[in-house]
């Protein structure tokens, strides 16, 4: 089956981002297709490479990046939600006059239209959050 995934919660605060990752990984391992993973609300915080968890804890951001690389996933961070919460790629940082970007490898920033398209293209859109 072709899934799209929506992640509405931030890493470490809320289990939703773990569950979304685990679902996505399990679906891929079972041979399903993931059309796109869309990060919204505090979920955009799953896409900052500056995250530094304790060494004995899971690295949620790196985990997404690695899964993305392994399966060539489309990991999309909502631009409006990202701007509010300080997540920027090089273009966004430049456009908004910031001194650095912090987007994690394998993620890209784009608009909410990508979420609607994800709903249209997939057979199932799974929403992870409160």
């Amino acid at each position: 089956m072709k899934f799209s995934i929506q992640v509405n919660e931030g890493p470490y605060t809320h289990q939703a981002s773990d569950t979304a990752y685990q679902f996505t990984k399990a679906a891929l391992e079972k041979g399903h297709e993931i059309f796109r993973v869309f990060f919204y609300h505090d979920g955009v915080n799953n896409g900052t490479r500056l995250t530094t968890p304790p060494q004995d804890d899971r690295n949620i951001v790196q985990r997404w990046s690695q899964l993305g690389e392994q399966y060539d996933l489309d990991l999309v961070v909502c631009v409006a939600a990202a701007q509010r919460r300080g997540i920027a790629d090089a273009d966004e940082a430049k456009r908004n006059g910031k001194d650095t970007d912090n987007i994690a490898p394998g993620f890209r920033i784009s608009g909410l239209g990508q979420l609607i398209e994800a709903g249209i293209q997939a057979e199932r859109l799974m929403v992870f959050g409160d």
């Binding site: 509405n8 919204y40 609300h41 608009g111 609607i116 398209e117 057979e123 929403v127």
Partner: protein, 133 residues
């Protein structure tokens, strides 16, 4: 589901699916309601078949007389009245949620259809895509 996915009513050959936005949170306190509304507005450009459902504290999103000056947040409730211009006209409210909060249809800023629990279930069941906020 596949038949509906092949549906080709408008949008010049584009696919039209039924989208339901389920609004469950109070308008302030968390950002869910505001960012949900942003999805609805952007999504309107895709000419999908859109419905909105207000349940639980989500019914407060469309309550009349919101005054946010004390919490220093923008009162975005007038935007719900503008949804009509975006062809988002199917607004549903869960009767149980409304009554539990002592509200009636007269307390709401937009015209809605009030649904019983079974009708809410049927509505959700009938949709291709359900986005829950």
């Amino acid at each position: 589901m596949t038949d509906e996915m092949m549906d080709d009513e408008e949008g010049g050959g584009g696919e039209v699916k039924t989208f339901l936005y389920v609004n469950r949170k109070a308008p302030y306190g968390t950002i869910y309601a505001l960012e949900s509304l942003e999805v609805v507005l952007i999504g309107a450009a895709f000419e999908q078949d859109v419905s909105m459902l207000f349940v639980d504290d989500g019914v407060y999103q469309i309550k009349k007389g919101q005054d946010t000056t004390g919490v220093e947040m923008k009162n975005f409730s007038p935007t719900y009245r503008a949804l009509e211009m975006y062809d988002v006209e199917k607004l549903y409210v869960d009767r149980e949620s409304l009554e539990a909060r002592g509200l009636t249809e007269d307390d709401l800023i937009v015209p809605v259809e009030i649904l019983d629990t079974e009708q809410v279930q049927d509505l959700m069941e009938s949709q291709d895509v359900v986005l829950s906020f």
